[in-house]
Symmetry: C2
Subunit: 219 residues, 2 copies
């Protein structure tokens, strides 16, 4: 019998993907939140799906909100770290914006569950999720700054156009929901479209490969 | 005392906006679904918010799903009717696509509650909402056909680019959710950006006014 938490035996053999009980709880919760709905999922239901006691779940997470917060953080941490690194990079703004959009779309596609579908939950407007909201706003502002630089360099002065790249990136969440599968074609389609709608006219092939290289960890 | 339904007296004076009990129920449900969450709202809670008995609510709607279905239908009916009319119109594809996007963004902004935030609910994947899903898919295909015509005329052969206009239109739902208010600036920003990302290079001022005229009912 697998031991989890503070010496509590599992009710059943391990059922979920995940290296640790914490990862298994997150995986089960992500499935239930995206397949059944956040409001309709209980911590009891999550514990059952993992095959552990509810008390063991509470050893890892104090509440359902804490589980949701951890899942949402996963969707933001990678792109936000990249955006911060790109803010100090010397590559042209178009390459940096492409790198960020490409990385973000790829990870929204690659995650096992479509967690971005939870961004519109009314529950996220509460104080409990203020830190998540602030981090997502920070990411959005990174997009807007890079987009404004690209539009400016292209002589595009349409007010508000810098707001759209972030929205196009997040639309991959809706594609994935409607299509029932990750839209792999979006990985380049969306960053390409972002540069085009900003009025950018450079060499797309070159920008793509420079961007993908720049987005690599340790680049 | 206002009479509602089959001779049932109201518990309290009328509380909600709406000309009919049905409209009041829809308004209350829309507020609760978007503010508290669908899974966390009960028909009892909706009846309380209207100030009627739960039994009176069931005279108008057999279930909570029926209320959601009626609300979702409201978000689709207008744009779908327009799209069907535009499919047979003789105006250039760019004008027709602009008209559809302008009308759709405007109505997503003008509705009292941000009902589009409900599109990602997992509940919508059930058989109960198959008709709504089919109608939304139909609207999406209208966008894709018009966008393909615009891209084709502009010599833009990027595969998949015709998928993006519908996504940009629906991103107004996320803007509204994040900003806590309807982004009125999106009414032209989004249709403008749609034509630009398709590679269209015509006269924007002219297209805008032709499109708004075309979208008028009875045009």
């Amino acid at each position: 019998m697998t031991q989890i938490g503070p010496g509590r035996p599992r009710l059943e053999p391990r059922r979920r993907a995940g290296q640790t009980p914490r990862a298994e709880i997150l995986d089960a919760a992500a499935e239930l939140f995206t397949a059944k709905g956040y409001g309709s999922t209980s911590t009891r239901g999550i514990a059952d799906a993992v095959g552990i006691r509810q008390a063991s779940l509470y050893h890892h997470f104090a509440s359902k909100d804490d589980i949701l917060d951890a899942l949402l953080a996963e969707t933001i941490t990678g792109p936000l770290e990249l955006a911060e690194r790109l803010a100090g990079a010397s590559a042209p703004a178009a390459v940096r914006l492409y790198a960020l959009a490409w990385f973000d779309v790829s990870q929204l596609c690659a995650s096992r569950w479509n967690l971005g579908a939870l961004y519109l939950l009314p529950e996220l407007r509460s104080e409990r999720f203020a830190v998540f909201r602030e981090r997502r706003d920070e990411l959005r502002r990174h997009y807007e700054r890079l987009a404004a630089a690209v539009a400016g360099a292209a002589g595009n002065s349409v007010p508000g156009v810098e707001l759209l790249p972030f929205r196009l990136v997040e639309s991959v969440i809706n594609m994935r929901s409607d299509e029932g599968a990750s839209p792999e074609y979006a990985e380049h389609l969306i960053p390409d479209a972002i540069l085009r709608l900003l009025g950018w006219q450079g060499d797309l092939e070159q920008t793509r490969s420079a961007a993908v290289e720049l987005a690599e960890p340790g680049a």
